[in-house]
């Protein structure tokens, strides 16, 4: 198992969440998180950030553009 300092751990969170760490590193991250409140909270905030990013304001194409694209799709069959 590897041992990490808090700043090293902060740099590994994405790799940890992606399951891209080798076993000793992953175990090291877990062991560190189990006994470091600051890093545990930091990882929670990372997860919350990812959650917030996945909830973007809705977007859609202007209705006239959507209509033109539907027509273009329909036209294609006649060519």
């Amino acid at each position: 198992m590897k041992r990490f300092t808090c700043d090293e751990l902060a740099g590994l969170i994405t790799a940890y969440l992606e399951d891209a760490l080798d076993r000793p590193a992953r175990d090291g991250v877990r062991a560190h998180l189990a006994c470091c409140e600051g890093c545990e909270r930091y990882v929670e905030q990372f997860r919350a950030t990812i959650g917030a990013l996945g909830d973007p304001p809705p977007e859609k194409l202007p209705a006239d553009m959507r209509d033109r694209l539907m027509s273009a799709f329909r036209e294609r069959r006649r060519l």
């Binding site: 300092t5 194409l61 959507r66 539907m70």
Partner: protein, 212 residues
């Protein structure tokens, strides 16, 4: 499949067959499921909403024209997004807002710029503050606005990677294929971008904190 915008679309072979047969409902479903995300991605490359809309329109026209020749070497989503990104890059270059795609120099946001002085090699100088759960719609909507504005300020490569991964829900394999970058590069860009966004959220939650 199905990760984009949470839409439930049938498997690729069904989609492709339907499009080739001229199934308008299928085309409409793709259009409505993917266009929102495509607009967000296009904005990483061009400077106005209008340009982003045109990029998305041109992409769909290319999809309509290319569906008969599409060869399932990638997923339909990856194919569409590659067309989108090529179209957006060309348009962005015309607007002379070119992406330094071959270099990393503009992505060099150092750890010190990210409010990381709170983490000392030995441990936390100060615990990160607990965040409120943004359960109220007003707070959630402010957070969404803050993130949307902030993304525009990220270095372009970080912005496109975090948009594809965390906003649009693409997998890391998909992003590497769409952008033609290595997995390690993808991860570094994503991590830097997430650190930046986490930092803005931390500042925001600090600023709205109720006095104890």
């Amino acid at each position: 499949m199905g990760s984009l915008a949470g839409g439930e679309l049938p498997p690729d072979d069904v989609v492709v067959t339907a499009l080739r047969a001229g199934d308008e409902a299928m085309f409409a479903a793709l259009l409505d499921t993917w266009s929102g995300g495509m607009l967000r991605v296009a904005r990483s490359y061009v400077s106005t909403d209008h340009s982003a809309e045109e990029v998305v329109q041109d992409t769909w026209l290319a999809v309509i024209g290319g569906i008969d020749a599409f060869q399932s070497r990638s997923s339909v989503k990856t194919w569409v997004y590659r067309i989108l990104i090529n179209t957006a890059k060309k348009r962005g270059a015309r607007e002379s807002r070119t992406l330094p795609w071959s270099s990393f120099e503009h992505d060099g946001v150092s750890v010190a710029d990210q409010g990381f002085d709170a983490v000392l090699p030995g441990g936390w100088k100060e615990l990160p503050a607990a965040w409120p759960t943004p359960e109220s719609e007003a707070l959630a909507s402010e957070v969404r606005g803050l993130i949307a504005e902030g993304l525009a300020r990220l270095p372009p490569r970080q912005r496109i990677v975090i948009t594809l991964r965390d906003v649009e829900g693409c997998t890391s394999d998909e992003v590497c294929e769409i952008l033609e970058i290595s997995e390690a590069n993808q991860r570094v860009l994503l991590h830097r971008a997430r650190m930046a966004v986490r930092g803005w959220l931390a500042d925001y939650f600090e600023s709205v904190k109720q006095p104890e």
